[in-house]
């Protein structure tokens, strides 16, 4: 190859010999880094899985079923039960009644 002659490119003395050594050292250290990263990745993933598992376990309802309270006076529920059509009057009537009861602490 006539790079040096025609293009004036030079290289340091013993460059290819030293560069080969450097390349192989880099590859080995990079390989070790990625191997240890893979090992740590496994531990991190395991820890995350245990954490998520714990959260699910302690929040699972089992027998502590939460009962959903349905207000049969609410216009949506009452119209579903009775089969009537929901109207603006029904909604206004329900909310004005709730406001009145809340203001006078008459709920419950």
């Amino acid at each position: 190859m006539n790079h040096s002659k025609k293009l004036g490119f030079k290289i340091p003395k013993n460059y290819f010999k030293n560069s080969k050594k450097e390349i192989l050292e880099n590859i080995i250290s990079d390989n070790q880094k990625s191997t240890s990263y893979q090992q740590y990745k496994f531990y991190y993933l395991s820890m995350a899985a245990v954490f998520i598992g714990t959260l699910i376990f302690y929040n699972f309802p089992f027998n502590k079923q939460k009962l959903i309270k349905l207000d049969s006076n609410s216009p949506i529920i009452s119209t579903v039960i009775s089969g009537e059509e929901i109207t603006d009057e029904l909604i206004i009537e329900f909310y004005s009644e709730s406001i009145f009861l809340n203001e006078n602490n008459l709920y419950e």
Partner: protein
């Protein structure tokens, strides 16, 4: 050593490192000169060479053998050089393909550049070419790659590669003849 035999050694985890030593020995100089002509300075070429080998080492298991091993290796080196030049042009806020000033600046800043009159003329002509023209010319004229290989490495149509090369070759001959 034949490519097939080298691939077998490289793809076996137990002998991968040994195979890689052989691969470095086989291709190191050729890859270096290809990169050097693209990035120009020795320091940059050395950095790109290191990066290229890391990519080869990491990617060898996924090499599908659709092309020759050597072509695959040169393509990695080529792409790595292009990536380097793109990064460099972003930093310097210049267009990748319009760096005549940068070309000369990079050459003369390099302590491993020592040109005579003819070399300088050569570089002056090369600096006036687009990156693709320059790469195609360098790969054919200096590195003696086949047109098919150049097309595969650069991902440019083979007919475009051929016509580009002949056009550039003619231009260079004419300019050199006129100057000397």
């Amino acid at each position: 050593m034949k490519e097939g035999a080298l691939l077998k050694i490289l793809k076996n985890p137990a002998s991968k490192e040994k195979g890689f030593k052989l691969l470095v020995e086989l291709y190191q100089e050729r890859i270096y000169w290809m990169i050097r002509k693209m990035v120009l300075s020795h320091e940059s070429a050395n950095d790109v060479l290191q990066e290229t080998y890391i990519r080869i080492f990491k990617g060898i298991e996924n090499f599908k053998e659709k092309s020759k091993l050597s072509t695959w290796i040169y393509r990695i080196a080529y792409n790595e050089s292009i990536r380097f030049l793109q990064k460099e042009s972003k930093i310097n806020k210049v267009e990748l393909d319009s760096n005549d000033f940068d070309y000369s600046k990079k050459l003369f800043a390099d302590s491993f550049f020592d040109a005579d009159k003819l070399s300088l003329k050569f570089h002056q002509i090369l600096s006036e070419l687009t990156i693709n023209q320059r790469n195609i010319f360098n790969m054919k004229y200096f590195d003696e790659y086949k047109f098919k290989e150049i097309a595969s490495i650069t991902d440019i149509n083979i007919n475009t590669v051929k016509s580009t090369y002949y056009l550039v070759e003619k231009k260079i001959k004419k300019e050199i003849d006129e100057s000397f």
